[in-house]
Amino acid sequence: MADKMKKLNFKKFLKGNALTYLMVIVAYVILFVMQTLGLLSNSLSGFLVPICAYVVMAVSLNLTVGIMGELSLGHAGFMSVGAYTGAVCSALLADLIPFAPLRLAIAMVGGGILAGLVSLIVVVPVLRLRGDYLAIVTLAFGEIIRNIMQVIYIGKDANGVHFAMSEGALNMAEGGKMIVRGPMGVVGIQKISTLTMGFILVMITLVVVLNLIRSRQGRAIMAMRDNRIAAESVGISIAKYKIMAFVTSAVLAGAAGALYAMNFSSILSKKFDFNTSILVLVFVVLGGMGNIRGSIIAAAALTILPELLREYADYRMLVYAIVLIVVMLVTNNPKIKPMATKFWEEKIAPKLPKKKAKEGVVNGK
């Protein structure tokens, strides 16, 4: 009985999300094998970690934009906070923890926590503004963060860690090492991000976001999006759930930032500008608002697309734009979806009789 219960729970746990998890796991296994066997070109395997980071970014932004229904244009700001924090964490802990994956994990946790704390500042306007006005504030936030990052100097020497807003004020002792050099960004990062760590972060993000959506908190957040007044009238505390969704989203973006930063030897704050925020928003819109699986596919596809189109260098952005437009048309066309469903039911589903029958038995029990 208890065993059966557990089985049922596990089934419910995966309900509707199994395909998403499966997709990510299969993609990881394929890429991992290909990478190990050296089947991936150098430039392509350099994209593996950024893909993971962008998938996490897209999924977490989908929580704000798709699930909560508030347009945020400053998501790259949280990513940069995470990236800087993670890189600094990693640099400071380099001697203490030689085991790279653990150090990276700590860096991601650190990046996530600091991004979460910073997001608490942005939460103030989030609670007061809606729609376009909120978008403007988050956009400004992203730019503010980027500008602050440009004047941060952090160094480490025999006396400990130094922090200043200008290079001269740093007072580094002889033989000290600069970690953050203002407009030059974080320098001398050890490249410790790996596909496996990226995959783990993606899986954690998926568990957090998908389970959050299918819990009472997620229901309340979506209820708020659908009808704020009605949600209030059934006792939902708007502020509580908005903070919950927004901060969760920022924490995940921070962790993604840390992962992203540790894939490069140096990282500039310029990397996390308005364009990056928009890029992530494009992933979300393209994959479908509130559609987590779509976000993953869109993020992965659009990150790798410019690289795959390298041969057609001159027409690269043209093709990119055409792909965007086509996907938008296809996903938003009411006639396409029934067509796809019909195709699935008539051509694909009959070929899977065994699986269907089995499912029926399980449900019958």
Binding site: N9, S215, R216, D226, N227, I229, S233, G235, M244
Partner: protein
């Protein structure tokens, strides 16, 4: 102008338990009013509702009926007067607080959560009664399964009042109009209110649906032992189901009493009911 007689529950239908007669009323409005700029939308609104009374709020369009609901649920903060809910002043509460304190409502223009399923709509109503936190939910700990199971069963139970269990997994936005109205009532009930406010529950319903609604309003009152205050233009429903009626015109109460009193009240006939009906 406004009659000062208090609206007292009349156990004439025999459904109100005897023991409720001496109990503290669930809602007391004392001199309630709101002004928008110079306009007095509701003025000097006094009303008392018994613990298990079904009361009606009627009046011509623009009389301020929905404004009264919005005042009771603090969508608007009243500029004058006091609202006592079960003897407790609701001053300073916001909409969500008022709901947790015991007032649930439906809306004149339906406000469901269209992208959620019927069951989820009801489950959102039960959110305040659930205790598991975000970590429990994300890690799917024991509390999560226990409470979600409880909520699932409770949702189906509540939906069964209106025979809607089979619609549990349908998106609320794709329900027909009448079912959406019923779902709103179920969602309001899910919050465990002690006072249910229904804003035109029969709007857009056909006569047989309205008759069923009347039965259900009584059934709700008897099952949950709660008070119901409803706004309705369907006089058959109001006169049939309400034990006490309050008539509003231009933001002021012009009459209060039992359905018989109201039907005979010349001021009400003049302002709202009209004379033709008597001839017909």
């Amino acid at each position: 102008m406004a009659s000062k007689t208090k609206l007292v529950p009349t156990p004439s239908i025999g459904l109100i338990p005897e023991r409720d007669a001496g109990k503290r009323p669930i809602l007391e409005c004392i001199g309630l009013g709101i002004t928008f700029g110079g306009l007095k939308a509701v003025e000097d609104f006094n009303l008392i509702i018994g613990r298990t009374e079904i009361a009606g709020l009627i009046g011509p369009n623009g009389a301020g009926k929905t404004t009264v609901f919005n005042l009771l649920t603090k969508v608007y903060q009243p500029t004058h007067g006091t609202i006592l809910l079960d003897g407790k002043d609701t001053h300073g509460m916001d909409t969500a607080h008022v709901n947790r304190a015991g007032i649930a409502r439906t809306f004149q223009n339906i406000r469901l959560f269209p992208s959620l399923t019927v069951e989820e709509n009801v489950a959102v109503g039960m959110d305040t009664q659930m205790k598991y936190n975000m970590v429990n939910g994300i890690l799917r700990l024991k509390n999560f399964w226990k409470e979600e199971k409880m909520v699932h069963e409770r949702c189906l139970e509540l939906l069964s009042i209106f025979h809607m269990e089979h619609l549990a997994n349908v998106k609320a936005g794709s329900l027909p109009y009448g079912a959406q109205r019923r779902l709103e009532i179920v969602r309001a009930l899910a919050t465990c209110p002690s006072l249910l406010l229904l804003d035109e529950p029969a709007a857009g319903m056909n006569p047989s649906e309205t008759a069923e609604l009347m039965e259900n309003i009584r059934k709700i009152r008897d099952t949950f032992h709660i008070a119901v205050l409803l706004i309705e233009h369907d006089m058959n429903l109001v006169m049939e189901v309400c034990e006490g009626i309050c008539v509003l015109n231009f933001g002021r109460i012009i009459a209060k009493g039992t359905p018989e009193d109201i039907q005979a009240n010349p001021a009400v006939i003049e302002a709202y009911l009209g004379k033709k009906k008597e001839e017909a």
